[in-house]
Symmetry: C2
Subunit: 136 residues, 2 copies
Amino acid sequence: MKLQQNSKLTKNQGLVYDALSKADGPLSAYTILDGLRDHGIRAPLQVYRALDKLLEFGMVHRLESLNSFVVCRHPDCETQKTMVFAICESCENVLELADDGLVGQLATLADARGFSVKTTTIEMSGLCSDCSAVQP
Amino acid sequence: MKLQQNSKLTKNQGLVYDALSKADGPLSAYTILDGLRDHGIRAPLQVYRALDKLLEFGMVHRLESLNSFVVCRHPDCETQKTMVFAICESCENVLELADDGLVGQLATLADARGFSVKTTTIEMSGLCSDCSAVQP
DNA sequence: TGAATTGCGTTACTCTATAACATATGTAAT
DNA sequence: ATTACATATGTTATAGAGTAACGCAATTCA
């Protein structure tokens, strides 16, 4: 839960983080917005600004391929610069896998071409175990 | 260049492919649209439909983290299900790296959790060799 | 030559994200 | 406390990315 950081969140940051925490999958900024209208959130920017901070804190990840966001379910994300996401295209659940070895190999592959890596995005789409049992 | 497929392209598909080929980096659909207004392309859908086909043919890749598109510079992309992109955040040039080993490892990592992978997106952001020489 | 598929053109619309500007709130030093 | 500074907030308007739905044209291909 990363409570040490959670306690320092501002009102809007806390609202957005809680909304993402309660969701069982990724949420778009506008879905979050709709869910928080009763709490005084009225404009997209209020959500995006909170998300920017939460991303900076490492408490939330952005899924580029879905234009949406998930809370970090990984225990020590600060030390992990890169996550691997497995996104089920049937139920939209997201597995968050960490693998530093893989990230190191990617960096090596890039270094061989003189490219210095800052951030890495790895997103896999497919079927989670539950859904692949149903839809073979 | 993948001429065998190029020769089969329809008018709009050819226009979009040529526009991407001439660019030295990724283009958004709307940038392509603006560049093709003189050629009879007037609506976003005309571009998006062409892009869909080109993606299907494996002649174009989509960069999720930039919402934009590049031509495939890799010789035999049909046999490569997954590309690794290194995107320079300074000059916007894109290196296209192929590594089946890495993709296999990712699939193994996912399989261990019962997830069956269909597509994989790997995008690295950083500085290319030219730009990292200038901005240390 | 007709039927089926694929592509084209257009209008309107939804979803995603940011710019610009004014106000408020917290924080730290004097 | 009071000033000064950084950070967060609220609001309006707008830009950028992508799709739905409709009708028509062109191309296969039987």
